[in-house]
């Protein structure tokens, strides 16, 4: 059998605009494709779902879920997906696996920990290996989040909270939830010292531990106040309790954050940050210098049309640094 070309990006965009959830696997196959032939199709896809094409921001809620290894992210997510489906909301999960890439390969194990009905067309789960940097988001994950938010009610990006991922996830998500487990003093210290970015929602897992979880919740709330945050909701949950505890409260806290958000501003910032990150992945620090450094790049992006999609913004950066395109 001969190799089929990459799928038609414009057609996929049209399907997403029509709310066709079954387009999701092909969308991911396309945005993950790093081949030259895929580039114009990815541009067509993202162009077709851009605010310019839609006349508005995509309605879906992009939620970043992150936290240290072992905090219970996958277990929580499994229960949370059920809760959202119970509210009749469609859910896409982009699980970013932190596996080392020494061999180039990775074991994508998160899927095993998320239980869902295989006959349910409104739940989509895709595991992706992390980018080349520790914990970094791959360009495909950013592009997929933007695209799927057209068709899905909720798009979750799940990452392990190490290295760069927290900063990156806050660049992409409308709402960032950080998961910590009681007794993990690190989170507390990181918050106090400012190493950890202040999340929009802080989730304390293992609420079934009772007093310990309550105390953790109190300590974290105090740390957040001393770090200057008055808005962060702190929610205690237990996904392993039967029935699970705190799920409705958590979805309400996520919704409440989204309701107060200036969505067009956050999405615009997200697209521009994603474009810059993609540009750096493609052309490296040398490319960045060619456009005059990070600050100039930011200025250039700020001058573009607010409705532009990521590939258009990347192209604008590339145009400003003609030397880097070389003969490739």
């Amino acid at each position: 059998m001969a190799a089929a070309g990459p799928p038609d990006g414009a057609a996929l965009a049209a399907r997403l605009r029509d709310g066709d959830l079954a387009a999701a696997p092909a969308v991911l196959n396309l945005v993950e494709n790093r081949g030259a032939a895929a580039r114009p199709q990815i541009a067509a896809l993202l162009g077709g779902v851009s605010p310019t094409a839609l006349g508005a921001e995509a309605a879906g809620h992009v939620i970043g879920v992150t936290g240290p290894p072992g905090a219970g992210k996958s277990t929580l997510l499994s229960t949370l997906v059920r809760e959202w489906r119970g509210q009749d909301r469609s859910v896409a999960v982009l699980a970013v696996d932190p596996s080392s890439r020494r061999s180039g390969g990775s074991l994508l194990g998160d899927r095993a920990r998320i239980t869902f009905d295989p006959h349910d067309a409104a739940t989509f789960i895709r595991s992706t290996a992390a980018g080349t940097r520790l914990g970094g988001l791959a360009p495909a994950t950013r592009a997929a989040a933007h695209a799927l938010a057209i068709a899905f009610d909720v798009v979750v990006i799940e990452t392990v909270g190490v290295g760069q991922s927290e900063t990156e996830i806050s660049e992409v998500a409308d709402t960032v939830a950080v998961i910590v487990q009681p007794g993990s003093g690190d989170s507390l210290q990181f918050l106090k010292s400012g190493i950890m970015e202040i999340p929009d929602v802080l989730v304390v897992t293992k609420a079934d531990l009772g007093q310990i979880a309550l105390r953790a919740r109190r300590d974290l709330a105090a740390a957040l106040r001393s770090a200057g945050s008055r808005d962060t909701a702190v929610v205690a949950v237990s996904a392993v309790a039967s029935p699970p505890v705190g799920m409705a409260e958590l979805t309400q806290a996520l919704d409440a954050h989204r309701a107060t958000l200036d969505l067009p501003a956050r999405r615009l910032a997200s697209r521009r940050a994603s474009a810059l990150a993609d540009f750096v992945v493609e052309h490296g620090e040398r490319g960045l210098r060619a456009v005059g450094g990070r600050r100039d790049a930011g200025r250039l992006l700020a001058a573009q049309d607010p409705g532009d999609d990521i590939p258009t913004l990347v192209a604008a950066l590339e145009a400003a640094a003609p030397g880097i395109m070389g003969t490739a």
Binding site: M1, A2, A3, A4, P6, A24, P25, L28, N29, E32, N33, R34, G35, A37, A38, S99, S100, R102, S103, G104, G105, S106, L107, L108, G109, R111, A112, R113, T115, P118, H119, F124, I125, R126, S127, A129, V240, S242
Partner: protein
């Protein structure tokens, strides 16, 4: 030296001889048991099918293809009665390989005895009932670790007074060795497991009962072909066990401190190539557990020579029984006291193993004990198994007929059916119809009330046994009882152990493979992605775990979801994950039903990725699977995983029209 020192005054009685058996239906299995007993077998060992072991009735989606395959289906007290028909339960010693649903099957056994006028005080036997090794190696768990340990503790607390001759649990090191454990790991994890069980029971019985409890705990061990070291392992286990009893549980009675174990010898080392060689392996392994009197097995069951080919026939099982009988009745083994007393070699081996095991037990304790440490132990086993495979691939560990001395004459033992038994495909339909008839015939109100009581008790601290026995009497089915507990305890997915597995050593082979994976990935536009899936109820995940780890080391993106997947789940994963190839593993014999289902389901969903299959697949089934759309079939004789990986990459390249660089160069 006087006669009394090197000879026993009278020849020892032989160990109990069993054969692990059961298939198709309760009626057919009963015939087999009676025939085995008439051949001189002295105890029963019941093999249940996977739906019974995992708590599903024959009409459940997950039971498809599994009913009556690796054992007998027992859905209710009627089945149990038929299974044991004509067997005197007050005299028989019955071993039941049952774990997650052990409380239920024991209840059915008790009720069956009751109906034939035998009091439960007289019942003798063993329920395997070791859930930790199910999480680690065998995969027939049903409930989460916490509630599972509670069920075990309930059974121990109940039997110690009500069924006093029963061994409520067999701590299994057997399956750990099958999953690749070294002797040190086998000892350490089994002992850590026993500690977890005894600590849980200690909370449920009076302090003065602990001696009796301790004495009811028996072990189920393995013996590999390195039979001298294996014998030392059993002596070391005996020493550790006694030490544990005295120091941790305050047991002082010598009899209660004795290390008692049954054994099934190694299957991992049995080969599909030149399978007749398995006979000598099995005999040597039997020697490991019988040759020293101070560490001799109480009960022995030997596998059949053709286990790696498929299900053994009655004649194959008879041969395994005859091996035991020759050892016990023809040789002089049972005429002497312990033949290793004072042996420098044996003592040295034992202290080596003791030292290693104590250190490893300390590591498990640091991880919070055997329950909290399941993930750690699982990952350690996956690592050990990978090392073992690597040694065989590299020729450092010789397996005769497999990686050395592979020339062979055609085997006259293979008949036209491939030298194995085939289970009638109509068995499942028959079971489903019988189940419907059973449900029709019983008092539904009594069943509903009994199930409500099981559900109520499950959510309290009360012992589950009384409610379970009442449910068995009322005619509840295996699937219904298990569902009641699943409702109360929640579903559970065990750890896969592959995420934590360390990367294998780099060598030239793997480097070359990575280059090829990179090349194909570049041509595909994204990294070559494989789904490794285990359909059906079979929990023997060693093979699929090794494939998953190796594929990662070769540079692929690997989606591995663990065991017990339905065709719909596999299809959904393959579709959503956008994989380039699907690898499926089945060892339970359900491949003829499940694999074509999955291929059809994949194609209907628009997934055209090639499908490869690995497992215990009889040669005769290979072509039908290929006709159903399977691209390649791998069996235990394909031990070289490097070759399997190369095949998979080539398959993906060919399927996607990516040219072979060698061929392109030649053109």
């Amino acid at each position: 030296m006087s006669d009394t020192e090197h000879r026993l005054p009278e020849r020892d009685r032989p160990w109990m001889m069993r054969t692990y058996a059961g298939h198709s239906t309760a009626k057919k299995s009963n015939e087999l048991y009676r025939s085995n007993l008439s051949k001189g077998q002295t105890g029963l060992s019941i093999a249940f099918d996977l739906p019974t072991q995992t708590g599903y009735d024959a009409d459940h989606e997950l039971a498809r293809g599994e009913v009556g395959k690796v054992g007998v289906p027992v859905a209710h007290k009627g089945d149990m009665k038929q299974l044991l028909d004509g067997i005197p339960l007050d005299k028989m010693n019955t071993s039941m390989t049952i774990n997650a649903t052990a409380a239920w099957l024991l209840a059915l056994y008790i009720v069956t005895a009751e109906d034939t006028g035998v009091d439960q005080q007289l019942l003798q036997g063993t329920t395997q009932n070791d859930i930790i090794k199910e999480f680690l190696a065998r995969g027939t768990y049903a409930f989460p670790p916490g509630p599972s340990m509670r069920l075990i503790a309930d059974m121990v607390a109940y039997t110690v007074t009500e069924v006093p001759k029963w061994n409520p649990i067999n701590i299994c090191s057997y399956h750990l060795q099958e999953a690749g454990a070294t002797p040190v790991q086998e000892i350490a994890y089994a002992m850590s497991n026993a500690i977890a069980v005894l600590d849980a029971v200690r909370e449920r019985v009076e302090e003065d009962q602990m001696g009796r409890v301790f004495s009811r705990i028996s072990f189920f061990v393995n013996a590999g072909v390195r039979f001298v070291e294996e014998h030392a392992k059993l002596r070391a286990m005996g020493i550790l066990w006694e030490e544990l009893g005295r120091e941790r549980y305050g047991v002082t009675d010598e009899k209660q401190l004795r290390f008692r174990y049954g054994v099934q010898v190694n299957s991992l080392g049995l080969t599909e190539s030149q399978p007749e060689n398995n006979v000598q392996r099995i005999v040597l392994e039997a020697l490991a557990v019988t040759m020293g009197r101070n560490a001799r097995a109480r009960a022995v069951q030997l596998p059949a020579w053709n286990e790696a080919l498929g299900l053994p026939r009655p004649w194959d099982q008879q041969w395994a029984l005859r091996m035991q009988q020759v050892l016990a009745y023809e040789t002089d083994l049972l005429e002497y006291p312990d033949i290793f007393e004072g042996s420098v070699v044996m003592d040295g081996l034992v202290s080596e193993l003791l030292e290693g095991a104590r250190a490893e037990m300390a590591v498990v304790a640091e991880h919070g004990g055997a329950v909290a440490g399941v993930d750690y132990m699982k990952a350690a086993l996956v690592d050990s198994h990978r090392e073992r495979i690597h040694r065989i691939e590299a020729g450092e560990q010789i397996v005769v007929g497999l990686n050395k001395y592979t020339e062979t004459e055609p085997s006259p033992l293979m008949d036209e059916e491939g030298g194995i038994m085939t289970v009638d495909l109509g068995v499942q339909q028959e079971a489903i119809e019988a189940l419907a008839a059973w449900r029709e015939s019983r008092d539904q109100a009594a069943v509903d009330a009994a199930l409500a009581e099981v559900r109520r008790v499950a959510l309290t601290d009360e012992n589950i046994m009384q409610a379970t026995i009442a449910a068995a009497r009322a005619g509840v089915t295996t699937g219904e009882w298990s569902q009641a507990l699943r409702d109360a305890f929640g579903e559970y997915r065990g750890p896969t152990g592959v995420g934590e597995a360390a990367a294998g050593a780099d060598d030239q082979d793997i480097e070359a493979l990575r280059e090829e994976v990179d090349r194909v990935s570049d041509a595909l536009g994204r990294r070559l992605k494989i789904l490794v899936g285990k359909p059906g109820l079979d929990g023997h995940s060693n093979g699929s775990e090794q494939i998953a780890v190796r594929a990662r080391d070769a540079g692929m993106d690997v989606v591995y979801e663990g065991i017990r997947l339905t065709p719909a789940q596999i299809t959904q994963s393959a579709l959503q994950e956008g994989v380039h190839v699907v690898g499926l593993s089945i060892l339970s014999g359900s491949h003829r039903e499940l694999i074509p289902d999955i291929v059809t389901s994949l194609r209907e969903a628009g997934v055209d990725a090639p499908v490869v299959v690995g497992g215990i697949i009889p040669e005769a089934d290979e072509q039908p699977l290929k006709d159903a759309g399977v691209a390649a079939v791998y069996t235990p004789k394909d031990f070289d995983m490097r070759r399997i990986m190369r095949d998979i990459v080539a398959l993906v390249a060919e399927h996607n029209g990516i040219a072979d660089p060698a061929a392109a160069g030649a053109a």
